[in-house]
Symmetry: C2
Subunit: 515 residues, 2 copies
Amino acid sequence: MSSCPACLVGLLLICLSIDYINARPNFVIMLMDDMGWGDLGVYGNPEKETPNLDAMAAEGMLLPNFYSANPLCSPSRASLLSGRLPIRNGFYSNNAHARNAYTPQDIAGGIPDAEILFPELLQSNGYRSKIIGKWHLGQQPQYHPLKHGFDEWFGAPNCHFGPYDDKKTPNIPVYRDADMVGRYYEDFMITSDGESNLTQIYIQEALTFIQKEAASNQPFLLYWAVDATHGPVYASPAFMGTSNRGRYGDAVRELDYGAGAILKQLQTLGIDNNTLVIFSSDNGAATYAKTGGGSNGPFLCGKETTFEGGMREPTIAWWPGKIGAGQVSHQLGSLMDLYTTILELAGVQRPTDRIIDGISLTNTLFNNQETDREIFYYRGDELMAVRQGLYKAHLWTWTNSIEEFNEGTDFCPGQEIANVTTHDQVNNTMQPLLFHLGTDPGEKYLIHPMSHEYRTIIPRIQAAIMKHKQTLVRGTPQLNYCDSSLMNWAPTGCEKLGRCLTAPPSNRQLCVWPH
Amino acid sequence: MSSCPACLVGLLLICLSIDYINARPNFVIMLMDDMGWGDLGVYGNPEKETPNLDAMAAEGMLLPNFYSANPLCSPSRASLLSGRLPIRNGFYSNNAHARNAYTPQDIAGGIPDAEILFPELLQSNGYRSKIIGKWHLGQQPQYHPLKHGFDEWFGAPNCHFGPYDDKKTPNIPVYRDADMVGRYYEDFMITSDGESNLTQIYIQEALTFIQKEAASNQPFLLYWAVDATHGPVYASPAFMGTSNRGRYGDAVRELDYGAGAILKQLQTLGIDNNTLVIFSSDNGAATYAKTGGGSNGPFLCGKETTFEGGMREPTIAWWPGKIGAGQVSHQLGSLMDLYTTILELAGVQRPTDRIIDGISLTNTLFNNQETDREIFYYRGDELMAVRQGLYKAHLWTWTNSIEEFNEGTDFCPGQEIANVTTHDQVNNTMQPLLFHLGTDPGEKYLIHPMSHEYRTIIPRIQAAIMKHKQTLVRGTPQLNYCDSSLMNWAPTGCEKLGRCLTAPPSNRQLCVWPH
Ligand SMILES: [Ca+2]
Ligand SMILES: [Ca+2]
């Protein structure tokens, strides 16, 4: 049609270029908060109240052997985004041995600039990125998501604890991008009955962002970090009382609905075939919350512990046309693998100047093949356990202190395994406790140290530990110091709202981590 | 074509008659032995090693609130076939309070002639019937399946315990119809390593029977009572070592394969649209077998107990074209319901001279509607617990005696709930222990007796108990007496094989039931 062959070639190159950009997939990470492995119908919850997530699994791949990098929110999330264990990225404390630490609003630390989060790499390679919900990598401005690879943010830097008295503690702010737009319990209500429309807002934010980005020519990353299943658990009026599992179940139903709405949105916009969606949770269900928390199915204990209930996550991968429907993979996976997998799929080089713990799961997702690897279970500054194949060795055991336990904080309610669910920190490094998670998913039956099985497996695991430790460079611990003056007294944007509070004098001190 | 209108009418009537007969559905009951609620992928087993059963659920209806009538084989099976609780049909003992009893090979009793089993009613209404596998309703000839409604039998009257020394105890015979055709460990091997081709034989028996009956004009009942997941657990060479769950998992895989082969056979023969298939298990997983037994998922304890782990069964209903695909029903169901449901579907009147505990599930299966009803949990001669809606009240608690426990028999390994998993028989009838199974499927968190919830619910449950007890006529206990002379010394057919043994003198005495 044209008499200008050079123009044609040029046009072709432009088309190819646009095709190449468009061909880069979008990424949606749906990260639940304290949701347990046993909370989804497809993972065996007896009430089967997650039809949308069950359908997502039927259309995609179930990953029953998928782990968080830590049994607590902040370190788990820092690892997801950095692709590195908390011990490397600094999301731990060494104030005391093997203690879980996180980012309450008086924490001094946060995600170090030196960590290269995958959203940063996507952003600098043409992706648009948004986080909706809980950040939890530091409440000070320099740690905020817009400083670490996100173009947009709607959500909060901390957990929705409260309500607080602003004399001693301010309520947690909710941000839109760089500015505070209100606070929990003031502008964003969560009633004592667990009523809140926050999840509906988070759903709408997701749908709007996806629609906007689908209309553009840029690929996108959506990190949907909703927190309704973290205590205090909440649901919106339309979902209150709709489950057989109390308010916790109502929250699960609403999140299930939201996940379904997001998948539907991708389909409606015709971008489902170009979007990888991962559903998972940041740590195990908070069994200490008793009937108010979630379920870890057949697994031992829950959040805060390095037993399976603390770190095995209900994970689903979905990408119509790329991930075959109705598949199950036994791959040992980690939330840190999303780092490596996503960068590979985006065609972005991953950092080569540091160890990335996440491995690429593309061969798992697209070909249902497995890669050998270990899972390292850290609690604070200590490597507590290691999984290799179907075997798990505990180097240290601890639930919580007997004092805490006697005061009613029970991480393993109804469960008691002699020498395993210990209330002392027990050092088993000289003779690790060994379990076979295939025949014994509940970590109940110790493999005898004199058995052939033990003497075959333990050296292999010890070799993996040695290799791991040889290359381990510990990051500077970020979660050692707390300071009331650093709380959310005057978040950016408070001036416009006339809602700034006056910070007290600094009282920098070592944080106390009881667990 | 014909000049004889009367002939035409006659032909038409014959055709209608054949159509009517053909229209009556076939029934296949796949009853597992000691398989637990948590053993199927679709019910949350982490290893997800049951692709055929998971597909069966995806094509049919999942029933996560389905119960056996008893936590032990014989009473559970007697109830399934009679539609009545063991306390009515006599499958209990009152030698001691609240003890589980069954039919070892020296049992004097068996299924009473007065009980009208649904296979008898189907048989007298034109059905052909076969049992494949374990009968367990009495080893004496008058109790055999061919005397109680079955046209064909391939299997054994007792569990596959052994091998025995025929001086004191004969090995269990395997029958074809009325005649013994061999014995376990002699003609039908189960090695100490758990190798046996029995499941393959049972699969082939099923496929052959279905093919034969499909070619006839009669509807059929197949009761596929396979026992590979009952200790000693076994699998055939092709399945040994194929699971991540040891020999137990291998057995599950083989049974899953068999279930798939049976469904495939129905489809190949074009009778899937006219066949109701029910998959379930006779009692909870034998948690006392530790890593050698199955999984009860998130539930408390296992076989022998009236906690959820003892009686909640992994149940699936399948009938393409009649039962919609991918459904879940929260109906409280019981294996006894198969009695009433099957008779209704066969157009056969059920007995009106006695109480039938089973209710019809047709409205559940075809319309996904729920019927209110209670689940009564008996152990021996005692009503231990009652479920109504999401609530369960324990009138009595007991695991096993502290003596047995101290010797290593643990029905609740790794689980310990104060005042619940008791080693004494504790009478709570004056103030039942109340649990909400929705928020607390593991029966861990007692609802406080002073709470509004307790004071609302308990009277309703007590009213149901009163109603139940008012109409309760206890059957004559069948499981009180044992006698070594009644063992399988000289089963019918032994003469032809030259394999008759000589019975010792009678030593009739009260059976000892430790649990
Ligand atoms: Ca969390
Ligand atoms: Ca059984």
